[in-house]
Point group: C2
Chain length 202, copies 2
Amino acid sequence: MPRPANPRVRESLLDAGLTLFHSQGFNAVGIKEITDTAGVPKGSFYSYYSSKNAFVAAVLDHYWSGIIRDHGSLLSDETVPPMRRLGRFFGALTEDHAERGFALGCLIGNLALELSEEHEEARLRLVAILDHWSSLFAECLTQARDGGAMTAAPEATELASMIIESWEGAVMRGRVDRSRAPYDRFLSVSLPRLLGAVGASA
Amino acid sequence: MPRPANPRVRESLLDAGLTLFHSQGFNAVGIKEITDTAGVPKGSFYSYYSSKNAFVAAVLDHYWSGIIRDHGSLLSDETVPPMRRLGRFFGALTEDHAERGFALGCLIGNLALELSEEHEEARLRLVAILDHWSSLFAECLTQARDGGAMTAAPEATELASMIIESWEGAVMRGRVDRSRAPYDRFLSVSLPRLLGAVGASA
């Protein structure tokens, strides 16, 4: 009979998976390394997750919900002009990445490019996370439009997606170069240019 | 005594590595799978490459030189306005990716996000490839500026890098969504906005 799930063990597994997948990638890490890092017996992994593929989907949720918990309020802070909120959100992510010397990238992007056709559950989770991210930005963009700070086209969710894609590319380059420069140019040039802000300058 | 290197075997190994790393990733593929795909004995791998890490750096060069061989002339075609050349180059890459259902992404981006601190040789190769790519674009951008089609700031290599980063992010999203949509919006909106073309519309 399976023992009842212990939320603390589940959380330890997710924390360990996040740290290990983020620093080494998905395929480079085995389940034993995850359970060792979490400080639980290897066999207990399967009381919580049916497979490493199911686990990585849960780790993605764990990563994304951590970002929203830490920085999501920056996007809904109505005391700040809506377009400015995007810059503050990315600024906060940049400081997170700076703590790791820009060497790890974003787990969402890393897994988006490492996982392959056999990891369909994780792929669908990535689709859902990127859609959620786009929808949060689209809300800010719609408010900016309503306030006359932005031109109407393209559609807000599309524009939000383009901004996220540019960000992910900048993070990738930062990881290759171990450098803040791609983050800085994203914030100072790419973001305002993509926003096409009325009266904005690069 | 090592046998003399056979360029045809080397080419087969590089082709096999490119195909396998592109579809499955670096860590998911073993040397035996590479030599089996190349149709050579496993032991011969080490007559050509000292390690899988040295090999993946060579595979990156092989991938990038294929892109330049197939599409590089689009960037130097002086019968086409310089900014238009960038769009044509990305259009050609988009068709390459379409052949694989947008499922594989760009090997440069994939390895940039999969490889970790232990793959320093490949990381330096990625730096060199991205620098070369930026310099090719920067040449077009400088010509566009000299012709009055673009504003002066930011510096051409910086702008070229931002364009490449946006592209890589779009490719990532296309891989997650198995979709052409991120490619299309990059070409029709992100690229012209990033270029900040004088009189350009999205």
